[in-house]
Structures are given as C-alpha cells and as structure tokens.
Symmetry: C2
DNA sequence: CGAGGCCTTGACCGCGGTCAATGCCCGTGG
DNA sequence: CCACGGGCATTGACCGCGGTCAAGGCCTCG
C-alpha cells in the first residue's frame, strides 16, 4: 500500500512545502472492489487514478464484442484515458479493478494546480507522458513484428509480477492472441526446458 | 512548401512578437534528397524535423532484417525519436526521406527556449504530445484487433493523400502485413465494387 | 535496350483462430 | 460435508488468413 503523497515525497518528485498546498479537494481516495468500473466507454474521462494498492486494467471492446487489454496498472502506476481527458471526447475504453484496490483519484484540476505550483511535478508529469509514448512504441513494434511466443516472453520479462496476478486469458488479450494460443505457447516453452 | 515560422504564425501557434525571438541558431533549414538519412539507429536523436515539403518516414529494422514503418511525415508534420531525445538513449529507429524534402531542423535547445518564451508554443507542444499518444493508441487497437483489409481501409480513410505518394510495400510495412497480402486485399476490394 | 524496382498472381504451408470436449479448482448452498 | 456449477486452463480437430517462395509483367531510368 503506497499513499500517493508519500510516494511523491519518497521519490522526491515534489518538495514537501509544495505537498501541503496539494491537499486540496481535488484529490480524493477511493476503495473499489474487484470488478468495479471507474471509467466506462462513452463517458468523458475526468480523473486520473493512482493505484495505491491492487490492480486495474484499461481495455476496449471491439465491434465483435472482444476485449482488448491496453494496459495493466499495478501499485504506483497511473491509469486514465489521456485522450479523453485532453480532447474532452467520450472515451473508447473501460477501466475496472481486477483486484480489490485503493486509489488516489486526481481531478484534472488537481494536476493543473500541481503543475503550476511545483516545477518538480511538472517535470514528473512530462516524464510520465514521454514514458507513455516510449511504452506505446514498444507495443506497436511488438505487435507488428513478433509472433505469439516472443510476445509472451517479452511480457514475462517486462512484467514478471503481473503474470502471477492475472488470469491467463487477460494476458492473452493484452498480447493480442487467444487464450488457447497462449496455452499452447506455454506448453511448448515448458516442454523445451525440462 | 510551408515555412516553419509561417506555419506557426498562420495557425496562431505563436505570437509574432515571440516569433522574432525564435530566429536563433538553433533553428536551421535543410534540403535532403530522396533516400537521405536524417537519423540512424544507434545515434542519439538531437533534433526534431518539421517537414516543409516532401515526405519522411520513421522505421525500425527487426532481428530478421525486416523494415517496420512506424510513421509517415508529410508536409507540416513533425518527426523525431522522442524517446531517444528525452531519455538520451541511442535510437532504435531510422528516419529517411521518401521524397526530396525541405526540412526545418529544431534543436532541442530551440524547443526549450520556445517553450519558455511562448506560452502558446508550450500549449502547442503539449498538444503534439497528446496527439501522438492518441495516434499510438489507435495504432495499437488496430494491430490488436483488425485484419488486413480493415487496416488498409482505415489507413485509406486516415491518409488518402499518402497512399498516392508512397510505394505499396511501404504501406504494407506500416500496416504490419506483406506487400503480397496488400495486393490481394486491393484486388478483392476492386472486385467487390465494380 | 537492358536492368532493376515494384506490383501481381499462383501454389503451398504454417501459425494462430475457432469450436468443442474435458478436467480442475473453488465457492456456494443444500 | 458433499454436490453442484461456473470460471479458467488445457487439449484436439479443423480451417482460414496471411506469410513465403517463385514466376511473370510492367514501368522507369540509365
């Protein structure tokens, strides 16, 4: 369990004098049970969620009714629909809790003031944006080039902790393959290792 | 042909009083012939390119030697490797000219000063970042969910102008399919239309 | 005219999707 | 405590999309 402000302080992302000013009504806490939605398709996303404990997922549902997981968000991760927030358009995505979770909920206004008050927060926010882009580039590269097995191996090396916590069909969804395929890949991997 | 500063002024992205301050040595022009590289894998990217005329591409080469086009950049588009710039790491990508092109070359320092001088430029830069993310999300969604034909149709509707200008095998590369597959998709589409 | 780049077409094949059956684990209620 | 049911993983049979390889045509440019 990682309190949002503690996290900012510990990582030296915001000076403590600034932190006090940031205890506004635009920051709140929320405890959600597994399965709870915090964003539904069609809504305009107005909040960013910092995961203090638990695990969320961001996903879309395509025209054939299939889920495609875009992102997992474990402890100390942020999740939101940036495009919806920034462009004020209804979201294409859902966000729900895979585990019982504790969230810090940041209103857009909170982030705006944090940025204007604290240069470190501004820097940090920009870091998050850049990192997001880097991550998406990797993802595109993987989807364009790699077969099922390489995708799974890459996912394992990047997120070993997440593999333990989510059902396989969700990992398959993240990788853009079917649960059956993932099962076959796993079988093959164990066979060739002993 | 679209001069960079004219573009900023015409779109009211920077006030004219600020524009004058931005004619520094950190902004230069460059004319490149088709085939010229402006970024090679392994280099640290130190510049952002604004395309005044012509057409560039950003692409990677995977372990099997295959090219994967990440982005086309026609007139008035920006192209660079943001991750390499921001994190100071060697780039995974190549950028070269598909047509003879005229570029405005923005040093990182130029962008930094522009941001500090002009609030409009800051806003605009943030817009570019957000838009980049939106675009990548769409791309991931497409690659995860759609078959060859839908990808091609989506590409056509998004970038009708680019289709005319680049060889098909590059479009195939962008879509993550082979030139042969794209050819078959096109055949099928014309057959079912008349 | 020849060479090389690009698109097309065909034959073949393999990865991964689909569908269905089975088994396992676990929570719930009789 | 056991029986039942539902969710998930596995496995097998089948198939189709798209990749691979190779041949042929067309255009451009030297």
């Amino acid at each position: 369990m990682s309190n949002f402000h503690d996290y900012l302080r510990d990582k030296a992302l915001v000076r403590s004098e600034h932190l006090e000013q940031l205890c506004s009504s635009y920051l709140s806490n929320r405890v959600v049970k597994k399965g709870t939605f915090v964003l539904m398709k069609g809504e305009v996303c107005k909040q960013t969620f910092f995961v203090e404990s638990g695990l969320l997922r961001l996903y879309s549902i395509d025209s054939k009714g299939k889920e495609h997981i875009i992102q997992f968000a474990p402890e100390t991760w942020f999740v939101s629909d940036r495009s919806s927030i920034y462009f004020g358009k209804p979201s294409e995505y859902f966000i729900d809790a895979i585990e019982d979770s504790e969230l810090a909920v940041l209103d857009n206004h909170y982030i705006d003031t944090a940025i204007s008050i604290s240069p470190e927060f501004r820097t940090y926010n920009e870091y998050l944006l850049q990192n997001h882009i880097r991550h998406l580039h990797n993802r595109v590269n993987m989807l364009i080039g790699a077969d099922a097995q390489s995708r799974y191996l890459e996912f394992m090396s990047l997120y070993p902790n997440i593999i333990q916590r989510v059902p396989q069909w969700m990992i398959a969804s993240y990788l853009g393959i079917t649960p059956e395929s993932l099962s076959r890949v796993r079988k093959e991997l164990t066979e060739n290792k002993g």
